[in-house]
């Protein structure tokens, strides 16, 4: 979650948002997403120390080392990225959490933690880098692989898939988006919007695995994505300090969603009318996309007003991890009272 208004405008170079060089395959979708995370954070001019990165286990989870090298990060356990995020962010609510996970990490083992962090609406950018396989262990089917998919040495996938965006909406998520690594501009704008969202912001990004699942017929491939992407709208994120010139957009062609910090997500209509604040419509569109194998991308659903985890516990801005020791321990009088109550 970002309070973009109060930050001082610091002059950071893009270099200060880079991480270590990627050891992933050349052409991997995750590399493109890492790049967009770097660019989004740089363009928002938020100090790198304000971000904390979390990841599970997998190629996508490895990518957390390849951006924001100056930020703390924790590459944890398979499917358990949410619990690390919740714990760390609890200690200092001023931090902006970016969680990177994969389709195996989230839709297989991590489905439970995924649902629960969404229910609690913990402010976190939750990026799923979705390629339909377990890439790190050499290409087994994951839960998002389509039924009937054939992969080398894996045979044919007999199971029905999990749709991460649908699961997010079912879990009462307050921000759900889907994108495609082959559409980097959209990815970048969605990341910016997710950063300013004051809750769990799920972005399911189809991120092709060039080594194990990039056949033209595969629903997670570059060619499929490029040929079948159907964006709901053209998306642009306007930070709070910038002004939107209304003349730039035709009346009736544009929807605006205003976030708590004053930033605005501008959605320009393409082929259809789409209102991302309508949950029923989101479910309907997703269901249709699943039945017809469309790659619907964009901001599927958003409710900027859902109370988040910090509000549920009336947590202020003072970091818990800086509370001095003297304030941590109750006084003797409290213990005396407890002892007295047992007599």
């Amino acid at each position: 979650m970002a309070n973009l208004k109060y930050k001082k405008r610091q002059k950071y170079t893009r270099k200060e948002y880079l991480g270590s060089p990627s050891t992933l395959c050349k052409g991997c979708g995750h590399n493109s997403i890492s790049n967009m995370i770097i660019t989004a954070c740089y363009e928002l001019e938020i100090p790198p120390e304000k971000f904390v990165k979390f990841s599970g286990i997998g190629c996508s989870s490895k990518s957390a080392a390849y951006f924001l090298g100056r930020s703390f990060g924790f590459n944890g356990l398979h499917g358990r990225m949410p619990s690390l995020a919740e714990g760390a962010l609890f200690a200092d609510t001023n931090l902006i959490g970016i969680g990177v996970s994969g389709d195996g990490d989230t839709a297989n083992i991590g489905l439970s933690q995924f649902k629960h962090i969404i229910r609690r609406n913990v402010p976190l950018v939750y990026i799923v880098e979705n390629n339909g396989v377990y890439g790190l262990t050499k290409g087994q089917f994951s839960a998002t692989a389509e039924k009937g998919l054939k992969l080398k040495r894996q045979g044919k996938n007999p199971y029905l898939p999990v749709d991460i965006a649908m699961e997010a909406i079912a879990a009462n998520a307050s921000f759900v988006a889907r994108s495609f690594a082959g559409d980097p501009k959209q990815v970048k704008e969605l990341i910016k919007a997710a950063i300013s969202h004051e809750g769990t912001a799920v972005i399911d990004i189809i991120s092709p695995c060039v080594t194990f699942n990039n056949q033209d017929y595969s629903l997670h491939s570059y060619s499929w994505g490029k040929g079948h992407e159907s964006p709901l709208h053209e998306l642009e994120f306007i930070p709070p300090r910038d002004e939107i010139t209304i003349e730039d957009f035709e009346r009736g062609m544009v929807k605006e969603v205003t976030m708590h910090d004053g930033s605005v997500i501008v959605l320009k209509k393409l082929e259809r009318e789409y209102d991302p604040t309508n949950r029923t419509e989101a479910i309907r569109v997703l269901e249709e996309a699943i039945r017809k194998n469309w790659l619907i991308t964009g901001l599927l659903y958003v409710d900027p007003n859902t109370p988040n985890f910090y509000k549920m516990f009336s947590m202020g801005k003072k970091p818990f991890n800086r509370v001095p020791s003297e304030k941590l321990r109750p006084r003797r009088a409290s213990l005396d009272k407890i002892n007295q109550s047992f007599r």
């Binding site: 270590s20 120390e49 100056r70 924790f74 356990l77 760390a88 991890n321 800086r322 020791s325 003797r332």
Partner: protein
Amino acid sequence: GPGLCLMSEFLGLAYFAEVPVVVWDVQRVGPSTGLPTRTSQGDLAFAHSLSHGDTDFIILLPASVNECFEFGWKALDLAEKYQTPVIVLSDLELGMNDWVSKDFEYPDKKIDRGKVLWEKDIEELISKGVKWGRYLDIDGDGITYRTVPGNLHPESSYFARGTGHDEFAHYSENPEGWRKNLDRLKTKINNAAIDVPGPIQNLTDNCSKGIISYGSSDMAVAEVVELLRDKGKKIDYMRIRALPFNNSVKDFLKNHENIFIIEANRDGQMKNILSAEFPRYAQKLISVAKINGLSLSAEWILGELANHI
């Protein structure tokens, strides 16, 4: 029991990435769902060997509700000082019953947050020309300095991971680096032996027979010691209160010829740990153990000891 199983993967990560955490296990009868409302001392072996690979854990063994209170704040201090998991093994005997006890005592030491660096600490190190690394042993005691997210100094961050890392927390598969790091972890935990609650000993002169016990079995064992001494039979008693073992544990094994390890589990878990750690004295150890969901009674223990004393 089952909860500890579920946590074992995370505890391995906490051990290796050196994250302080306290786990409070109120032991009940296992394995599996077992007897969920009955007491045991059956998680010791598991807690001791938790998680795959080579690990070590600080384990505390309270024997009364007062010790539970005391070990509560001590566990947090130990976890943060040694940057490692601390597992407290209580049991249902203590946790599920009402007890008459003395007042809980207010902690007699200040909270110890361990070696944590904030912005000005990092700045100070830099000005002294000292290079800080999350896993760099500057003091030589195995305990490194840590920073936490929220620290705004540009040199303070690091990427925590369960995979191999060098002293600056960078990913590393270097064989010597791995070995050195793991050895440092062992040294670190071994050094805690002087810090954890030491054994309580009840000794007489020139006594060749001894009892070792721990946790809530203490109540029955204390009764046994009194009864035996009333009958004129000499017996010494050591109550272990934590692992890693204090030096006095080794001395106790050395100084007695027959040592009875009394505990509420099937396989004599403490006896097995002691045998493995002190193989030289393993022959002297006799297991007096059973598991049936009830606390051991003085009567039963006396019966078991009758053949030996």
